[in-house]
Symmetry: C2
Subunit: 266 residues, 2 copies
Amino acid sequence: MRRTITGFSNPTVKYLRSLREKKHRRREGKFLAEGLRLLTDARESGRLPEMLVMAQGRERHDLLDALVAAVDAAGGEVVETDPDILGKITGKDNPQAVAGMFGEWDTSLGALQCEGADLWLVAQALRDPGNLGTMLRTGDAVGAAGLILIDDCADPFSVEAVRASMGAIFTQQLAQAGWEEFLPWLRAGAGQLVAASLRDAVPYRGAPYAAPCFVLVGNESRGLPEEYELACDLRVTIPMLGRADSLNAAVAGAVLAYEVRATLGG
Amino acid sequence: MRRTITGFSNPTVKYLRSLREKKHRRREGKFLAEGLRLLTDARESGRLPEMLVMAQGRERHDLLDALVAAVDAAGGEVVETDPDILGKITGKDNPQAVAGMFGEWDTSLGALQCEGADLWLVAQALRDPGNLGTMLRTGDAVGAAGLILIDDCADPFSVEAVRASMGAIFTQQLAQAGWEEFLPWLRAGAGQLVAASLRDAVPYRGAPYAAPCFVLVGNESRGLPEEYELACDLRVTIPMLGRADSLNAAVAGAVLAYEVRATLGG
């Protein structure tokens, strides 16, 4: 279905703008993703926006044509508006911008597809949406099956997290759960839980990683609670050769995950 | 020297607030750093603020006492103000906040201390101050001597970069230069220039890294110019096992730098 929207006070414009805020996303179960490349990643991963928004008179592009055709075929809406209104929705002054509104999906642990997965990233109380998106992006690159968010993390469907994921929000599996739900779920299977730690830990290089390996990273300022560290099957240390006692959370996860990947092969 | 400041229109308040903008930092050669831990890192690394700002009636703290004593002894200013005004300076609503105004230092290549350094991080056209600060933080952890910024990078003295560095802005060496200046400087010594690349590259694990090793990371969206890659002594590939063709720049630098560290030892 095609529509043209004019006027900032149009309810659709207001609705889309409202999805920049977490409380509205929660209530509506919808989120925004921006950029032709990201939306193409989504399409190629089988995720289509329920609504696609672009500026009237935008330059043609093969990938955009493919996107419009796919949204049309799936019964979604294609909305054209003027560049100023588009800018209000995307928060950017770019008349070439394309935005999509997606329905959020099931992020329960039970919905994860674990078969064949040898590596997962797990983040606990990760507060920065940029770090969260970066972990999704790293997970894609390192061949992880997905990201599991433990306790009170940033919203993976926020504009910042989606942007930093560079499309991996659509390709990585994603779950959200409390620790008290995660640990029994993990223990019901064969997963090895690994954390970077200073407690009773072995060097991260050459540690006995085993698939399926779950790489656990803690909160940006507090790290992991002691109880969580103690519940891990393997605690490893990454050398800290300077004054600081920790790496950025997304960086620590990446250094560790690439080491695990090298051990597991693939 | 001690001073108490009341009133938002006080020229010192205006001056300090202005340092949140790059053009004012450039003109004045001053920058802001915030947080007792960060300022303590600075002090212990031999960098003292020219002016220290805190709220009147702030809780005592041994590290704060040490900082005040050091600033006093060095002839700097200690300014007390009310929490609202402090919030205007730091941009945060935290009456326990402490801010320091520092003089920028010489960031020319000629000022770098290269003796004994076996690892450097180099970033080209890195635009995100958070990535820049994260690279400084990683450099500290991985035992790098410092960070060299090539071409038009984000400002390392911005509030965001200083914050993301978690104090490493004070402990890592820092230089800023154009490529046309950097390359002859490098070639005048024995440095090995290494980049992650897809061109004529070898696997990053087990590659023949040699000290002093310079790990080069490119711009967030464009990567490195071809000419720069071709000028490298060693091009390595980090496995990209998913859909994406790149890692976050700070993440790529960290994965590579930790691999170099493992090869070089130390």
